[in-house]
């Protein structure tokens, strides 16, 4: 099951929220946990039974390993073994198994967090119920955010809630609606243009190559941040706070700032569970730079089996290293230049993230810098001729020229709106104030998104 599906929005979500809230009123903690676990297993199993089987196996194996972490002599070795089992399983599945298991990458990191924090004694209540709930909790299962054990478990222990159920549900509903719109109304439309560009690489003009790269920059942002908003929104409606995962990343003025705004939970995980254990910045500049490169290469490999992901990670690693070295000088550069360089670099690196092969990536780069043929084809423009445009063009003949595919105006208008939203709309869940305008916006987003669900495009990060 996916968040952007009729079954989830019209059935599972309202039933889960209502039933869970009613169970909370009964004050039976284990019943509440059991319900959420069953809902989570249904969420995964409805999508793919093999993924469900993998999840259950992962739970059994890791809980068993955790049981031996307190061994006075071999605890550390067992921890290393546990991490190796999880990472090894991910590697084997990724490189040798011709099947995708939903959420495998995120579950791997969640299990590592559980094992490491268990070893360090940071987890007080490691009951089976709490552990299974932590791993399976469906809003964060498929694409994160990657959270610590206490982040979700402690929310169930709240004796007195800071906010009322209505406050939480209203806030969650709003963010879910916004997230759904980001995914269905923006990312899925952008995806068509991106697919066109990459599927017709040889025939692209330089202008189309630039547009394709920009479209992917927009697509991956709206796709992933949209999912995160939905996950946070759903969880908020249930009464469990998940951390923000995005903070307008494309306004970043340096690469470090970018990673403090993009997939924040991943950045936090990499820092706490890989970078710091490697020594962080405590062992001199050279070692620090090596550690940074290692972290980003791991990040790249975590995203996918293809070498293009590793190259993408390496590019960010190199950029981070350079930034670390020239930081004092960088601070003196005008802000607009800082932003332009950072945004330009991020766009460039995304080429490798999206490319089906290294050759294709270089071909795209070559197309951009060939500076020849500045046309945009009708096929590319058609990708943005949505049902809404067709409806308006049919109803209002006077706008036919403006709305026609050939004019390209729908494409440019769509991209412009997407760019404005990317920069101006806030990602972070600040203090939510329910207003009539937000209600109208959320209601409209839900409506337009639901009627757009039939042409569902899968989430990008679901593949990791």
């Amino acid at each position: 099951m996916e968040f952007n599906s009729y079954l989830f929005i019209l059935a599972m979500l309202p039933i889960t929220v209502i039933v869970f809230r009613l169970l909370q009123k009964c004050n039976n903690r284990y019943l509440s946990i059991a319900f959420l676990v069953i809902a989570s297993l249904f969420f995964v199993g409805n999508r793919d039974l093999y993924s469900l089987a993998f999840l259950l196996a992962s739970i059994v194996v890791n809980y068993a390993i955790a049981g031996f972490l307190k061994h006075p002599k071999y605890g550390k070795l067992i921890l290393a073994f546990g991490i190796a089992v999880n990472v090894g399983t991910l590697a084997v599945v990724r490189y040798f198994v011709d099947r995708m298991f939903i959420g495998i990458s995120f579950v791997t990191f969640q299990q590592i967090i559980f094992l490491v924090d268990s070893y360090k004694g940071l987890i007080d209540d490691k009951s089976v119920a709490n552990y299974i709930f932590y791993i399976t909790y469906f809003p964060k299962y498929v694409q994160g955010p990657i959270v610590k054990y206490d982040t979700v478990v402690s929310c169930l222990n709240k004796e007195e809630r800071e906010k009322s159920a209505a406050d939480e549900i209203s806030c969650g509903l709003y963010y879910f609606a916004i997230g759904l719109a980001k995914k269905v109304l923006l990312a899925d439309v952008l995806a068509k243009g991106v697919s066109y560009g990459w599927n017709n690489l040889e025939n692209l003009s330089s202008a189309e190559a630039v547009i394709t790269i920009l479209l992917f920059t927009l697509q991956i942002y709206f796709d992933f941040s949209g999912y995160s908003h939905m996950a946070i929104g759903v969880s908020k409606m249930i009464g469990i706070d998940l951390p923000d995962n995005f903070d307008n990343p494309y306004i970043a003025k340096d690469i470090s700032d970018f990673w403090g705004r993009w997939h924040i939970s991943l950045t936090n995980f990499l820092r706490e569970y890989i970078y710091i254990p490697l020594g962080g910045n405590r062992k001199g500049l050279i070692r620090t730079l090596i550690n940074i490169l290692i972290v980003y290469i791991i990040s790249g490999a975590w995203h996918g089996a293809a070498i293009t992901f590793v190259i993408w990670g390496l590019l960010h690693g190199v950029a981070s290293c350079i930034h670390r070295v020239i930081k004092p000088i960088w601070k003196k550069v005008p802000g607009i230049i800082q932003w332009a360089c950072t945004f330009g670099f991020v766009n460039f690196a995304w080429i490798f993230f999206r490319a089906p092969s290294v050759e294709a990536a270089f071909m795209m780069i070559k197309k951009v810098f060939a500076f020849e043929q500045f046309y945009t084809s009708e096929a590319l423009k058609t990708c943005f001729h949505t049902a809404e445009i067709s409806f308006l063009a049919g109803r209002f003949a006077g706008f036919n020229d403006w709305l026609s595919v050939n004019s390209g105006k729908p494409m440019y208008a769509f991209v412009l709106v997407a760019i404005l939203l990317m920069f101006l709309a806030k990602d972070k869940m600040e203090k939510f104030r329910p207003t009539i305008w937000r209600s109208i916006l959320a209601g409209s987003c839900l409506f337009f998104s639901i009627i757009s669900l039939s042409t569902v495009v899968g989430f990008i990060y679901e593949n990791f």
Binding site: Y6, D167, L173, F391, G394, R433, P434, I440, L446, T455
Partner: protein, 358 residues
């Protein structure tokens, strides 16, 4: 602290948001349910003119919700059939539901549905494409099926009524059609493409590349197994299960170039042998009325009738339907052997090279 005039209570926010989306969704779905351009819930609504143009989206609804006692179906070779001619001859009320490029199974599925939905169905008129006989009985030639329109699952109908792409393509199209003064498409004109193409030798040859000569192929045991499975499941069983319904099966006349193609591929004997087996089986049933035009050179060899090696024009389509009232082109137990003797005699000895002489 002052709150803005637009601030609401959380409960009100939830109710207001859900109400806005619910009203919009119900309204949106309601329009499609009322108009129902795909006839999924009901037949044509009074006062609305319906354009018919999308076979795989509309045929199921037509079969379920129109009133008729005769169904006319098949592939693109039946799209130019005029049901009105059949109705005049047989006193029936016919719906035409062709599926371009369909396999026998796909066409049979709609026949079975009509037999199930229409208790007073009297006639089935169906084209049997010559080149699809030796096929897997369950093969379907169309991948992207709107399954939600073909089943009885009410829940997945959300894909129809809450779908903006379908709304613009079908529901809104009805409104645009009516604004332009259109009248409901008749079944004579539904998917009729006859007037859109050029016919004649040049038209045929523009799409036909004469293949190299290949080795002669025999009808194998596997071929027979395939064709019998296909025939029994998708052609004969509906007639067996519904003895009170008259089944008019038409094997459309392919052009002489089709036989040239078979001959070059070494498949001519195989083709004729396969159809002889099929015909011998079909003529056993009294409610199957079998028609073939393969031994009519005045049709098959008249290149002006064809736009490619298989597709014929309106004149031939009309002749076929008119012939169903008589017996001149009917194949029965009495003349089936003679029919195939004539076919072999004609097509195995035909001078195909002469077709390419200028």
């Amino acid at each position: 602290m002052k709150t803005s005039k637009t601030t609401m209570k959380s409960k009100s926010f939830i109710i207001c948001t859900l109400l806005i989306s619910a009203v919009l969704l119900v309204g949106f779905a309601g329009i499609t349910v009322y108009v129902d351009p795909l006839f999924h819930f009901h037949g044509p609504s009074k006062g609305i003119q319906y354009p018919l143009y999308d076979e795989r989206y509309m045929n199921d609804g037509i079969v379920r919700h129109y009133q008729y006692d005769c169904i006319m179906t098949g592939t693109s070779l039946t799209e130019n059939f005029n049901p009105s001619i059949f109705d005049e001859q047989f006193g029936t009320n016919t719906v035409k539901v062709p599926f371009s490029g369909a396999s026998y199974k796909e066409v049979n599925d709609i026949v079975e549905k009509a037999l199930k939905e229409q208790s007073n169905l009297k006639y089935v008129v169906r084209g049997l494409d010559g080149n699809k006989l030796i096929s897997d009985k369950d093969s379907m030639n169309y991948e992207d099926y709107p399954d939600y329109l073909y089943d009885n699952n009410l829940f997945n109908d959300v894909k129809y009524v809450l779908n903006k792409d379908l709304y613009v393509k079908y529901t809104e199209y009805v409104f645009a059609f009516m604004r332009l003064g259109g009248n409901s498409t008749t079944f004579d004109t539904y998917k009729n493409w006859a007037g859109l193409y050029e016919y004649g030798r040049d038209a045929i040859l523009s799409g036909y590349e004469r293949p190299d000569i290949e080795e002669e192929k025999e009808l194998s045991e596997e071929d027979v197994e395939l064709l019998m499975g296909n025939l029994m499941q998708n052609v004969i069983s509906p007639a067996v299960n519904h003895p009170d319904v008259e089944f008019y099966y038409i094997v459309p006349p392919y052009s002489i170039f089709f036989y040239d193609d078979l001959s070059r591929h070494g498949e001519l004997n195989r083709y004729i042998d396969a159809w002889q087996i099929a015909f011998n089986e079909m003529v056993k049933y009294s409610n199957i009325h079998l028609y073939s035009y393969s031994t009519k050179p005045e049709i098959v060899e008249n290149l002006n009738y064809y736009m490619d090696i298989v597709h014929y024009n309106q004149e031939v389509s009309n002749y076929i339907i008119e012939s169903l009232a008589g017996s001149e082109d009917q194949i029965t137990q009495k003349n089936v052997a003679q029919h195939f003797a004539r076919m072999r005699d004609h097509y195995l000895r035909f001078d195909y090279d002469a077709l390419f002489d200028e």
